[in-house]
């Protein structure tokens, strides 16, 4: 496998740790080198946050640069727009169709852009995958599985076997959460194979 560069972006507090943990576990199962770069501290308080995950034969820098991401997974629409220039031209952009207004929008100083998904489709076409994961999670009865739905989509866009992802899921999460998360993962995994 050539090196795989993934970015997980969102709003501080949305929780990207589970995704990076799972990808890390998957990488180790496949005997890949792996580096994950996280954000702690002030940005975690509702700011724009980004986690970089790189796996492959040998990884030097833990960061992904502009035009460098194979996959960007965004927990929020505006954040997908913010980080779009980090995506490779043929990269995949997975977007949770959720809107969280940043303070400059709340105070009326700036406007939340309209039609973000359409804009991004204009740049990246069918490589933009948008999903209302919050609604699906609510229907499943646990809004905390939003992450796992998105991870499911992400997994389907890599060449790594599905079973390895599921093994990682079971290793990372406590047993009582396996069922609902496996369901969420499957929904995500099959979502993108349309």
């Amino acid at each position: 496998m050539t090196n795989l560069s993934i970015m997980i972006v969102g709003v501080g507090g949305q929780g990207s740790l589970l995704a990076s943990k799972m990808i890390g576990t998957v990488a180790m199962k496949k005997n890949f080198d792996v580096k994950v770069s996280e954000v702690h501290g002030m940005s975690q308080r509702g700011g724009s946050v980004v986690t970089y995950v790189k796996l492959g034969k040998k990884i030097a820098s833990p960061l992904v640069e502009q035009n460098g991401a194979d996959i960007i997974m965004s927990f929020e629409k505006l954040e997908a727009l913010r980080w779009m220039d980090y995506l490779k031209k043929d990269g995949k952009l997975i977007i949770n169709d959720q809107r969280i207004d940043p303070m400059p929008v709340i105070t009326g100083k700036e406007k939340y852009p309209e039609g973000i998904i359409e804009t991004l489709r204009g740049e990246y076409g069918d490589n933009v995958i948008s999903i209302d994961a919050l609604q699906i999670a609510k229907d499943l009865g646990n809004i905390r599985v939003v992450n796992m739905i998105l991870i499911g989509i992400l997994a389907s866009k890599t060449s790594i076997e599905k079973e390895v992802w599921l093994e990682a899921l079971r290793e990372v999460l406590p047993a009582k959460l396996h069922d609902i998360n496996e369901k969420a993962f499957e929904i995500g995994y099959s979502f993108a194979v349309i």
């Binding site: 507090g13 975690q44 308080r45 852009p113 919050l134």
Partner: protein, 584 residues
């Protein structure tokens, strides 16, 4: 066995494997997780100290008593601990002593981007700098060996991208370190002028020996590739350089950044055509090399501001800027997303009141520094830990009573213990009349919930004695101490008005636990009844990220709202209702 570990976690593992038995720290991003992880080892005594100076003093005590000790802090913490650092350099150690310092280039969560390598040079203490998690672990163990072999404290420097990156680490067994004997040694450990003069001679000898060692140790290695380009680099800058040049360059990777391996550098420079020094922040390595007359290129091309990246190196050295779509219009319109006080944050109400009263607010370091940002904008200053209190006093002494009556200092509970107490004593002693507000949220918030002397629990979650802020204030001579609920806006406003009008020093303790604490429960999200809402937008003034103005109406983002009900206290029309029930 290999594990995927955060740099900070690997440091903790290194300390464990090295047989450390005493670990101290004051939390600070990006260093906090070092000691959080050390605390998980039952074999190691760990503590959150009140501040970095005390933390280092405890570690020095443990070292002189014969144990291996580690003390961790962020870059600005080393300013606080600089006093003991400069003199423990003279005394040297008994058991190994390692000081972890984590710099924050780019200031992800800091008030400046000082380069701690200058402390190594200024205090004449050797410094190592790892480039990934494996090296974090290995270098900490090596630092203990150097500490004992050369009778010196050793600083290990991390930067944010090393401290907060995960990479693979090989786990080893714990070393069986036996506590060294303690012997009273007046000449070594009592730094009065007569003894210190002799110790300074030892320090100079030690530095000479360490420079010799630097040329031989594996910490500094040459990795040959193409000899057209030679790169002298260390830490995360090494990884970025590798990313850019790959095998098209040779590398002198420096693991011991002070003292530098001068002979090795000369040898390397002599073998390659062009030498670049690639380092983040200050030209620390570059200046030392240029002083030796070796021709290198560094900060002529690379920035001293912010973080380095592979992209910057590519752009500035190779001159191959890549086209990105960031210049397109849509991208330029993307609104910024600065951090905000969380929904339910008990600080919000306090800043709402301070803004309403149009007060000058000297601020401090913590989550509540976010009260300086729009739309609350109710903080005038933020310098360093504890500064709010001394600065309020300074304002009064410069501008007199009238100005003082419109001024308050605002500080968190942990920051107050760290270095606010001395400022408050100053106000009392020097006849100040300032009003100080302690935002007591029962935890150290910004760094991710660490206990402190006010919370009643230790780092290992054991119950302990608790500082009583009220009694403390009385004991130092404050006679007016007021305790209010941070959610009670009316009471807060009344109290602040009364205390700022009083001609004596006073302390207001605004209490409410951090909304993110597990034991804090709310009744669930609110919504706005649009029939009752008169669009007066009073609720927008509390700057809650969950209340959104959609132009024609105001609504609550139910996914964010926790139900703290602060908005109900500013709404005159009872428009807020509990989702799935009444707000009453």
């Amino acid at each position: 066995m290999k594990q995927l570990m955060l740099g900070n976690e690997a440091v903790a593992r290194g300390a464990y494997e090295a047989g450390v038995t005493v670990a101290t720290a004051y939390p600070g991003t990006p260093s906090t997780e070092i000691t959080e992880n050390i605390a998980k080892y039952d074999e190691i005594y760990a503590e959150w100290s009140p501040n970095e100076k005390v933390a280092l003093e405890v570690a020095i005590g443990a070292s002189i008593a014969g144990a291996r000790a580690i003390c961790s802090m962020k870059h600005v913490g080393l300013n606080v601990a600089a006093d003991p650092l400069f003199t423990v350099s003279y005394t040297g150690v008994n058991g190994g002593l390692v000081i972890m310092v984590a710099d924050d280039p780019g200031m992800h969560s800091s008030q400046n981007e000082q380069d701690s390598r200058n402390y190594a040079k200024a205090s004449k203490v050797p410094m190592l700098e790892p480039a990934d998690s494996q090296e974090c672990k290995d270098y900490v163990k090596e630092a203990f060996r150097i500490s004992e072999a050369f009778d010196t404290p050793v600083i290990v420097r991390l930067t944010t991208r090393i401290a907060h990156s995960r990479s693979l680490v090989e786990i080893n067994e714990k070393e069986n370190y036996i506590l060294k004997d303690y012997k009273k040694d007046f000449n070594k450990y009592v730094m009065m002028p007569g003894m210190a003069r002799k110790r300074h001679v030892e320090v100079e000898k030690r530095m000479a020996n360490l420079t010799e060692y630097a040329n031989k140790t594996d910490l500094n290695q040459i990795q040959w590739g193409s000899k057209d380009v030679g790169v002298i680099t260390s830490g995360i800058a090494y990884q970025y350089s590798r990313e850019v040049f790959g095998e098209n360059a040779s590398y002198l990777k420096i693991g011991m950044v002070y003292p530098l391996p001068v002979d090795l550098i000369k040898e390397f420079a002599g073998e390659v055509k062009t030498v670049y020094v690639i380092e983040e922040l200050e030209p620390f390595i570059e200046d030392e090399i240029k002083k030796e007359g070796v021709k290198v290129i560094g900060k002529e091309l690379l920035p001293v501001l912010g973080e380095l990246s592979a992209k910057i190196i590519k752009d500035r050295i190779l001159g191959v800027g890549e086209e990105t779509i960031s210049s397109k219009e849509i991208h330029l319109q993307t609104p910024a997303r600065p951090p905000v006080l969380c929904p339910g944050c008990p600080h919000r109400g306090v800043f709402y009141v301070l803004r309403k009263l149009k007060l000058t607010v000297t601020g401090d370091i913590g989550c509540y520094t976010l009260g300086a940002l729009p739309p609350l904008e109710s903080m005038d200053t933020c310098i360093c830990m504890g500064a709010s209190i001394g600065m309020a006093h300074g304002f009064e002494k410069a501008r007199g009573r009238e100005f003082r009556e419109k001024t308050v200092a605002v500080i968190g509970d942990s920051t107050f213990i760290h270095s606010g107490i001395t400022g408050l004593i100053d106000i009392v002693y020097n006849k100040g009349n300032s009003t100080v507000i302690i935002l007591d949220n029962s935890i150290t918030g910004m760094t991710g919930h660490q206990h402190n002397p006010c919370t009643g629990f230790t780092i290992k979650n054991e119950p302990t004695r608790q500082v009583d802020l009220e009694k403390l204030a009385y004991a130092i001579g404050i006679e007016r101490v007021r305790i209010v609920d941070a959610y009670n806006l009316k009471e807060l406003e009344k109290t602040v008005k009364e205390e700022t009008a009083t001609e004596e020093p006073s302390l207001i303790i605004a209490q409410r636990p951090c909304a993110l604490l597990k034991n804090v429960r709310f009744e669930g999200p609110l919504k706005i009844n649009r029939e009752k809402c008169k669009l007066c937008k009073m609720c927008m003034k509390i700057a809650c990220p969950a209340i959104v103005d959609n132009g024609s109406y105001v609504e609550v983002n139910e996914a964010l709202c926790v139900g703290c009900d602060l908005c109900t206290k500013v709404c005159n029309f009872n428009a807020f209702e509990r989702v799935g029930g009444n707000s009453d």
